[in-house]
Amino acid sequence: MSPTRLWTVNRPSVIFDEQAGESVVIDLTNGHYFRLDAASTALWLRLAASATVDDLLSSVENPDDLRAALPDILTDLEARGLVREAAPHEVAVQPGPWRFDGFTLEEFTDLEDVLGLDPIHEADPQQGWPHATAS
């Protein structure tokens, strides 16, 4: 994993809100959402401001712990579509020094039907959308 690759939150399809140190992250593409505890939020907010691995390691109090965990975290977040490579203009001011105490995503899917794609319905082959197949 490149130490200089610039990571950021996958806006605009991912939005998040931080309250009292904890966060909720929403993937608008599928309606899944994630609860992040305070420890996880510390890393998430730094990714939201756009950061390289080097940036993260240079600002954290316990870089050895972060160095060991970060590749798996970023791989997982990217696979879920929650983070992506940032463009240079997306860099914001990083929060100050911090401590890495782990990262846990608690995933919820109960709003999938409300926020994600509606259940797939087949279109009538003759009339096309928006006509459903006769049932």
Binding site: D17, V24, I26, L28, F108, V114, G116, E122, P130, A132
Partner: protein, 339 residues
């Protein structure tokens, strides 16, 4: 001069299966009736933004919060005003679901509010179905430009003789949480004691219900996939339409539908939400909350004279307030605010 209006949905419309699709279909028909050139676009095509761009719309209407939040960044560069078709305040409805039924979480309410806050902030205009929700939105999302328009309209049908008292009807699918909760509650709490007093009674549930989600009880049956004309005929053979909704938001199409057919209604206060003058009363609807009130209201409509009065009052109410032409004019006026 006609406007070119793009209407965006997540998928194909399924108006026989969900009221949201029905609302979009009605709105499209209303705008077309006034001469607007309206095209529907589905996210499932995989190239919706390009298709909308090729259509060159004057106005883009996007239905439902998840879709609006996803599409807004992709459609805003087109330069056409973006109208958010909210359907209801989802976070309010799910918040009530959490309180009343316990089948939703505080986390879900928070997430919906966040997404809706984004939709209200990004839209050039928000169309809500009721004045009550416009007032609530003004408090929750100050600065948003909201207007109330009827999401549903329907012609009032000719009167019919009172059908025999045995038939009770419910319209709505299980995917909408208030329907699932309402029918489940009614089948467990209201129907058994009522049917003990009226063993001939039958309850027909019309809509899309997965087998696993269907409450069962003596005299309770399910019918799905009926074309509009067959559904209307089936409803007109029932004595009363019910809306046992214990939470909800927006406008209840099922209540209007029953009334338009001359079918008196028994329902909770959520059955008439957004339909009356904010006083909680709608002609043709008997309100009931407790099982005892439900039984009393259903039995009241066993009386032919009472039934006729309620049926006529309901049909008159729909004809006066929810005609298709009035809906079309209200929609056109609303959209003229942005184009």
């Amino acid at each position: 001069m006609s406007r070119r209006i793009a209407v965006c949905e997540a998928d194909i419309l399924t108006p026989q299966r969900d009221a949201g699709s029905r609302a979009v279909a009605d709105i499209v028909a209303a705008l077309r009736s006034l001469g607007d050139v309206v095209e529907l676009f589905a996210e499932t095509s995989g190239r919706l933004p390009a298709e909308v761009a090729e259509f060159a719309p004057d106005v883009v209407i996007v239905s439902r919060p998840g879709l609006f939040a996803r599409l807004q960044p992709l459609l805003a560069p087109l330069g056409a005003p973006l109208v958010y078709l909210a359907h209801d305040l989802h976070f309010v409805r799910v918040g009530l679901q959490q309180e009343v039924a316990g089948t939703a979480t505080a986390g879900a309410v928070r997430v919906l509010r966040l997404v809706e806050e984004r939709c209200f902030a990004m839209a050039d205009l928000v169309l809500l179905p009721t004045a009550e929700e416009v007032a609530r939105a003004a408090v929750e999302f100050p600065g948003a430009r909201c207007v109330a328009v009827p999401y549903f309209a329907m012609p009032a049908h000719p009167p019919i003789p009172a059908p025999p008292p045995a038939g009770v009807a419910f319209v709505g699918g299980h995917r909408h949480a208030p329907n699932l909760d309402g029918v489940t509650w009614f089948a467990a709490e209201v129907w058994p004691p009522y049917r003990t007093r009226h063993p001939e009674a039958r309850l027909d549930v019309f809509g899309d219900w997965a087998t696993a989600e269907r409450p069962t009880a003596p005299g309770l049956g399910y019918r799905e996939g009926l074309p509009d004309a067959e559904l209307d005929a089936a409803l007109r053979s029932a004595r009363v339409g019910i809306a046992p909704l214990r939470f909800g938001a927006g406008m209840k199409r099922k209540t209007l539908h029953y009334l338009s057919l001359g079918l008196p209604v028994v329902g909770t206060r959520f059955a008439v939400q957004g339909l009356g003058d904010g006083l909680g009363e709608v002609p043709g609807v008997l309100l009931a909350e407790s099982p005892e009130q439900w039984t009393a209201a259903l039995e009241r409509l066993d009386d032919d004279a009472e039934w006729q009065r309620a049926a006529e009052a309901g049909r008159g109410f729909v004809a006066e307030r929810f005609s298709p032409s009035d809906q079309a004019i209200a929609l056109s006026r609303a959209i003229s605010r942005v184009h």
